[in-house]
Amino acid sequence: MNPDDLVVTGIGVVSPRGCDPAALDLDGTAPADDSWFDATAELGARGYKYVPPAGRYLLAATRRAVADAGDPLAGVPEGERGMALGTNSGIAALIDAMDATITDAGAERLSPATAPYFSINTLAGRVAMDHGVKGWNLTLTSPRTAGMETLLAGARAVAAGRSAVLLAGSTEAPLPVHHPGHALSEAGAAVLFLEPRAAAAARGATPYGTCRTATFFLTTAERTVHEALARLVEDAGAPDGTTLPARLICDPCPAGTALAGHLRRLGVPADIVPPGAGTLLPFLHLTRGLARPGPPHLVAAASSDGACALTLVQPLPTPRPRASEQEPR
């Protein structure tokens, strides 16, 4: 299966930057606390008391994405459902609180209900339990790029026949207040529902568009950005890569500076955006890009250690009909 045969038919976002994917306010910082999130409204009053904030955000965003796609999971066997999550700081505050408890009162004072969440993959595991995701479930944690990587890893897994549909997303929660990076904390989650173009057409779903990711690692030598860009645009049938606008999420680290330079030399005008602490901001940018009709564009991210990801976002050229206006399924 060609990766571009996988289309996005559902988007779910819960974020202090907004919950309407097309209207996300991605400029500046957002509140690094939990006050913006109404867990009861999103998830109901019971059943999620012990789920950490990043898990609740992810559950809420997944519900929104599935609903936005027209609740297609009923038609997909559980073994054909796959999920890929990107997160960096999803349990950082929980780990810090647990460590404080262990070193002070001792491990016997840990809550047995929250103890399983010391393992970061339980965030996606909890979603799998709610939505019967039995095909496969990946948690990726590469610094900053993991959210974008879910689209690459997920599309690869679907192409390999490991599932028929894909939930791909990112979730983050604030870093501990004493962490030097706390001010850069992110909170919220975004999830995309992806399915083969033919399957979407068969059930009358109108896609938002497609997104395709490539990754590379910027070493000190002249590296593979050109190859990655070519991989994205050549097979995608997109216009020449040198005409694509790009939004680059990075700090002024050597890798970010190098990636910006590579893109500039390739004729790609990159709008540089300061990063947050984790994987969410790049994913929100590509989510907003999908939700707004327009020309293809790139979202790029670089972490300070050298990991880079590029996502080619190809939204619909014209506005997508609202779910209520789409063909009955």
Binding site: I95, S119, N121, P143, G306, A307
Partner: protein, 383 residues
């Protein structure tokens, strides 16, 4: 379909640094006991761990373990700088560099995540093809290898350095204590008195390479072909396996199908086998469903009885063990259980002496919290 070869390997665990040290320890099958964690902050009833020798240097403990194993692997494979520059890296780790995130905290540390482990390998070796960190808990290393195979098959990469690394985590160990999942004596998979697992440190990194690339560069040898993988998710419980084992059975059968291997071609299984009560029973039953009556004489090699449960590294160390078994056509002796093997786990665990391998394939399993399951099937060289 592109054939994916294992052309290099590196390992570090409580058995020592290096693949040969590991193999010699497997063959010696010494009784292995955990140590008390050298951590005054580990206020818990059973602060036990199997420690690995970790080199000094920059980066957190998991990163250093991963880099140690990766350096050995690329040297073993004979990769040159050109190969490095185009290689991708996929490393699994459950907790990452926990030492950087647990007390005493360094106020000057600005990392915003404990998971730069794959990046550390890519930076150390000059690998330019992407660095992906997989955190599927105790199946992370297995998933990393399976992802790497798919990358090569899809044409994304010719060479991938893939594996897993796990280091001591006070919080991880504390939570296992709180969940009553730590055995007070040792890691004793399939033992009738097992009372949980004991975590261990370690790393294994394999050089995975398309057969065409290996041939073009004149690779000297390969251990085995990583022929297929099967993935599934229980979607049942955060920590406990689905009691019917349906999803781990599906992972195993999918791996066999992906590898194009019938079940009766498998000559050895390196099970997940952690020593927790339910996991070992469910895995034994699932193995019985896949291998039928042959399970009673199909050799299993219970690696964690020697290394402890190395979590995010466990799947990679398991695959490496399976590759060595195929390479040397020998199943090492298991740590003796004798009459103390659990009757609810009717698997074959050859003890005392090595057993010649019969069959061209081997399987390695890795299961995890979150219900994440992966099985991998390896194929030995043609005689």
């Amino acid at each position: 379909m592109t054939q994916v070869l294992i052309t290099g390997a590196g390992a570090v665990s409580c058995l020592g640094a290096g693949v040969e040290a590991m193999w010699q320890a497997l063959c010696a099958a010494p009784g292995s006991r955990p140590l008390r964690a050298a951590d005054p902050g580990a206020r818990m009833p059973l602060p036990l761990v199997y420690r690995a020798p970790v080199g000094t240097g920059p980066g957190g403990r998991a990163s250093r373990l991963a880099v140690m194993a990766a350096r050995e692997a690329v040297g073993d494979a004979g990769l040159d700088d050109t190969d490095h520059a185009r290689s991708a890296v996929v490393i699994g780790t459950g907790g990452g560099n926990a030492d950087h995130w647990e007390r005493p905290l360094d106020p000057g540390r600005t990392d915003t995540t404990p998971f730069p482990v794959a990046s550390a390998v890519a930076a150390a070796l000059g690998a330019g093809g992407g660095a992906t960190c997989v955190s599927n808990a105790c199946s992370a290393g297995g998933f990393a290898l399976a992802i790497a195979v798919d990358m090569i098959r899809s044409g994304e990469a010719d060479v991938v350095l893939a594996g897993g690394a796990e280091a001591y985590s006070r919080v991880g160990l504390g939570c296992f204590n709180r969940m009553r999942a730590v055995d007070p004596h040792a890691c004793r998979p399939f033992h009738r008195d097992r009372a949980g697992t004991i975590l261990g440190e370690g790393a294994a990194v394999l050089v995975l390479e398309s057969a065409g690339h290996a041939r073009r560069r004149g690779a000297a040898r390969h251990y085995a072909t990583l022929a297929g993988s099967g993935w599934s998710c229980d979607a049942h419980h955060l920590t406990a396996p689905g009691p019917d084992g349906a999803q781990i059975r599906r992972a195993m059968t999918a791996a066999l199908t992906d590898a194009g291997a019938p079940a009766d071609a498998v000559g050895c299984v390196v099970p997940h086998g952690t020593g927790t009560r339910l996991n070992d029973v469910v895995e034994s039953e699932a193995l019985g469903a896949v291998f039928g009556e042959r399970l009673a004489r199909l050799p299993l090699y219970s690696l964690k009885a020697l290394t402890g449960h190395t979590a995010g590294a466990a799947g990679a160390l398991g695959v490496l063990t399976a590759a060595l078994i195929l390479d040397r056509r020998t199943v090492p002796p298991n740590v003796p259980l004798g009459a103390e093997q659990d009757a609810q786990c009717p698997v074959s665990l050859p003890q005392e002496v090595p057993v010649p391998l019969v069959g061209r394939h081997a399987m390695a399993n890795a299961f995890a919290f979150g219900g994440n399951n992966v099985s991998l099937v390896l194929e030995g060289r043609t005689p």
